[in-house]
């Protein structure tokens, strides 16, 4: 009977405060669903077959902990808001004869109700969305999946356990707060006179200095070693976070104060109300706004960098493995690569393909010689004209002793290619150059591709030179790359077969190097990891955006309540409705778009740093990064605007409140 009474009071409390409770529960549900999804993916066996599953699971596990800690922080913030706005209600209970123990019981039941609702709804939502998440992850890392919906009991257990702990922590915190206050202080807490914000010049300026310092480090951090770069990045991030908080809290008040001191600016209808209430608003809401700013920055940086990591490496990877199969024959004996042998090798590979019912597609078939002599400015790669023509589909013709060149970095401005006393007259630049396989891996700025008509003569001449293999060196290569159109496991099988065949060849002919690479075989691990990181980046971003939305909503709600009597007074003193609305608009716009602008500024300054960090991963694809960053930035800004519009309606309805007093 008595227990039922408390339960009813608790349910009533939630219903009556639904304007505050509803978003809180939604946030809980979203966080729990996200957590379930992450732990589901960790346990699911759909991904257990793909290469690098260990890394993905590790990444997801880590992400799960990050999410749990973050959930705790967000819910604490929301809960503090909830408790604060309900102190009057609790004070009333207290006056009606409930002691703090009774109130504690009501709160405990409220928390229990919220916990049960959110965990159930969260897990159900998580289960419903887990398939999409799984498909998304699988798509990102390039594995295969089926379309069966599955429930992972271990994930359900994990989720329930973690969030039970989170809710118990919340409850303890609330009890502590209520326990520490008297009934009168509970009742009056809303009417505490607010101190005017003091402008602290030292603090305000130091905030700006911290920001500038952080930006400076981010922009100038050099690249001597990955560790030093990471350390610099870490310091820059800390400086910028500290700078953001201090600037938002102290710097903005300082700015308002400076503006107020400028009388001809301050005493204008358009500025008077806005500037003075802005100082208060920033003092109250500076921390929340700084948090929003940091969250947005995190989302921007996280998505753009993880997307670059994934798509950038994939791009590089495809540069390295342009075809499914890459065969490289390397020898120092020109006879090994004569016409007859090449035909034999090729036939063997084709037979292997034929037995699987496919023919090579997109073939890259090219001989070349890499000639390195010590002290030379240029690295020459010689290519036979006939192979080049065959690959490019061109019909260029050259006389003996003439050459076409193609450069990869520095311009080759000499009139002739000279190598060991041999000379080819440069008659022009090749229109294009099709490079695949090993060549693409080894090109540098000083690499020159030399296309010559007398390739056979060249390699024999080189091999016959005195000192060959001792004072100078050259390799004769044949690259044979192709796509098969086989499924992944078929490719791996073929790859194994070819390797066995090449091992035999190697014993027979004494190749220096005889490699077969399969894109399928090389790809897995790295992509899985980056894919996992990217996926986690998206999930965490969603959570961060949700948290930012919640903070915005609560801010609008608080300020709406606080500002209502203020605008009522202004109306009585003789401010028109449109003047009030204009003033509200300008304040809200400044307050809410300031964090977004600052976040975008952070991103701009973080850009060079992230770029250098990506270099650690051997990524130097600036256009891709720029494009991703701009897209992500625009997307987040758009989303923010939508959220702002939606929540500011709450504010307007609170402030206008029908124009009634109290």
């Amino acid at each position: 009977m008595k227990g039922g009474f408390y339960l009813r009071l608790a349910a009533d409390g939630i219903r009556k405060n639904r304007r505050i409770y509803f978003p809180y529960i939604l946030m809980c549900v979203a966080l729990i669903a996200m957590y379930y999804i992450i732990s589901f993916l960790r346990f699911t066996d759909t991904i257990s077959d793909i290469t690098g599953v260990g890394t993905i699971r590790f990444t997801l596990n880590l992400g799960g902990w990050v999410l749990a800690v973050f959930s705790c922080a967000v819910l604490f913030y929301a809960n503090a808001f909830l408790t604060r706005s309900r102190r009057k209600e609790f004070g009333l209970y207290n006056i009606f004869g409930m002691d703090k123990g009774n109130i504690g019981k009501v709160i405990a039941r409220e928390t229990a109700i919220v916990a049960v609702i959110s965990v159930c709804a969260g897990v159900i939502l998580g289960i419903a969305c887990s398939k999409f998440a799984e498909l998304g992850l699988v798509r990102i890392i390039g594995a295969e999946s089926n379309y069966r919906l599955k429930i992972e009991p271990r994930a359900v257990g994990m989720t329930a356990a973690v969030y039970t702990v989170v809710f118990v922590l919340q409850l303890m915190n609330t009890q502590r707060k209520i326990g520490a206050s008297t009934s009168v202080s509970l009742l009056q807490s809303e009417h505490v006179g607010e101190r005017p914000p003091k402008a602290n010049a030292v603090l305000g300026i130091s905030g700006a200095i911290l920001l500038i310092l952080g930006y400076f480090i981010a922009v100038t951090a050099s690249f001597p070693s990955a560790r030093k770069l990471l350390a610099a990045a870490f310091i820059a991030v800390l400086l910028v976070i500290a700078g953001t908080y201090i600037t938002m809290v102290a710097g903005s008040v300082l700015l308002c104060r400076v503006l107020q001191r400028n009388r001809s600016y301050y005493y204008k209808p358009a500025h008077f109300v806005s500037v003075s209430s802005m100082a208060f608003r920033m003092k109250r809401g500076g921390v929340g706004l700084a948090s929003i700013c940091i969250l947005i920055t995190m989302v921007l940086v996280m998505i753009s960098s993880t997307a670059c990591l994934l798509y950038g490496t994939r791009f590089e990877f495809y540069m390295d493995y342009p075809r499914e199969m890459t065969l490289d024959f390397v020898t120092s004996d020109p006879d090994v690569l004569d016409e007859e042998n090449l035909t034999e090798f090729k036939d063997a590979v084709l037979t292997g393909l034929d037995s699987r019912g496919v023919a090579p597609e997109n073939v890259y078939d090219m001989r070349f010689a890499e000639a390195v002599s010590s002290g030379a400015v240029w690295d020459f790669y010689f290519f036979p004209l006939e192979d080049h023509n065959g690959q490019m589909g061109t019909e260029a013709a050259l006389n003996p002793g003439e050459a076409l060149v193609f450069t990869f970095g520095n311009d080759f401005e000499e009139d002739a290619v000279r190598f060991k006393g041999m000379e080819w007259k440069v008659v022009g630049e090749a229109d294009g150059f099709c490079y695949a396989g090993r060549v693409s891996m080894d090109v540098s700025d000083s690499t020159v591709a030399v296309i010559i008509p007398d390739f056979e003569e060249l390699i024999r001449a080189i091999a016959g030179m005195p000192g060959f293999g001792e004072s100078f060196f050259a390799t004769f290569n044949w690259a044979y790359n192709f796509d098969t159109g086989l499924p992944a496991d078929g490719q791996l099988e073929l790859y194994e077969d070819i390797r066995i065949y090449l091992d035999d060849l190697s014993r027979e002919y004494g190749f220096m190097g005889l490699n077969c690479d399969s894109r399928e075989n090389a790809g897995g691990g790295e992509f899985s990891m980056y894919g996992g990181i990217f996926f986690l980046g998206i999930v965490l971003s969603i959570v961060f955006v949700l948290a930012a939305v919640l903070i915005i909503y609560y801010k609008q709600l608080t300020e709406g309540f606080e500002d209502r009597p203020r605008f009522e007074t202004m109306r009585k003193i003789g401010m028109t409705g449109s003047e009030i609305r204009k003033s509200i608009n300008s304040q809200m716009l400044t307050v809410f778009f300031f964090p977004l602008l600052l976040a975008l500024a952070h991103l701009v300054f973080a850009f060079p740093l992230i770029q250098k960090l990506l270099l650690v991963f051997k990524l130097s694809n600036e256009p891709l990064f720029l494009r991703v960053t701009v897209i992500v930035g625009a997307f987040v800004a758009g989303l923010y605007a939508v959220v702002y519009r939606a929540t500011s309606n709450t504010y307007y309805s609170l402030v206008s409140g029908g124009g009634k007093e109290k």
């Binding site: 006179g193 005493y267 008077f272 203020r566 202004m570 003789g574």
Partner: protein, 254 residues
């Protein structure tokens, strides 16, 4: 011509679905001359606040007319209303209605800033008013830092600074202790002596007895009025008190 003429004023409130009609003001008629200090008395629910809201042009009457300085505020367009209110009326409220984000000086400047006056003019206007009200030293403080009486004096300064034709005061002593009340009422008399017309709504006899004339409202009509004539505050207090007793017992008889 009188500064303020109220004739046949009627205000009917309907409940939300039009079922219950409440007649807050039935037939109010009175005039206020330039330089007068008039108190309107009545019990809670007698229609005082409704009357004040209509005089302040915050609310529109159902019938009858209000003429302030030859103009009918009800005929002023909504867009011009705020400006009209700003330049013709000064308000003093029971709960001060000072903005806590402004210093007292800025609170006082607010109507002038909204009217777009230059800072120098505002400062020049404030100086004598602040001296009269004795708040020069408080001007840079925030409302939460000063006492209720000081807040109300700042609110009076805000009402005076536009040089309004009429000051409307709604229970100005309602939230003050007796000493602050007496100080404020004395200031009202001073301001009135300098020529400011004041209309005060109150149910405190102590406040009403400082006025030059008291109107009694009951059940939506002006029931009675008393002139101070030559009497002192104490004598006038007695007269008002007697009238109040009459009003109350009259209701019992009726």
């Amino acid at each position: 011509m009188s500064l303020l003429e109220v004739s046949g004023l009627r205000k009917v409130y309907s409940t939300r679905f039009g079922g219950n009609r409440v007649e807050a003001l039935r037939d109010i008629n009175f005039k206020v001359e330039q330089g007068e200090y008039v108190a309107i008395m009545g019990e809670s629910g007698s229609g005082k606040t409704t009357l004040l809201n209509i005089l302040a042009a915050l609310d529109r009457p159902t019938g009858g007319r209000v003429i302030l300085d030859g103009k009918d505020p009800a005929r002023i367009k909504e867009s011009a209303m705020a400006a009209y209110r700003r330049s013709n009326l000064g308000f003093v409220f029971q709960d001060f209605n000072l903005l806590d984000t402004f210093t007292l000086a800025d609170n006082i400047y607010l109507p002038l800033v909204l009217a777009g006056r230059p800072y120098k003019e505002m400062r020049d206007r404030l100086a004598p008013i602040a001296a009269t009200l004795g708040i020069q030293k408080l001007l840079n403080k925030y409302p939460y830092e000063v006492s209720g009486g000081e807040k109300q004096r700042a609110a009076v300064a805000r009402a005076l600074i536009t040089g309004p034709k009429l000051i409307l005061a709604d229970e100005p002593t309602g939230a003050l202790d007796s000493r602050s009340s007496d100080e404020l009422l004395w200031l009202f008399s001073e301001v009135n002596r300098m020529g400011q017309t004041i209309l005060m709504v109150t149910h405190s006899i102590n406040a009403a007895c400082t006025a030059g004339r008291v109107l009694f409202i009951k059940d939506g009509v002006v029931f009675h009025q008393l002139y101070r004539g030559g009497s002192t505050n104490e004598q006038f207090y007695q007269k008002i008190s007697d009238t109040m007793v009459l009003l109350t017992t009259g209701r019992n008889r009726g």
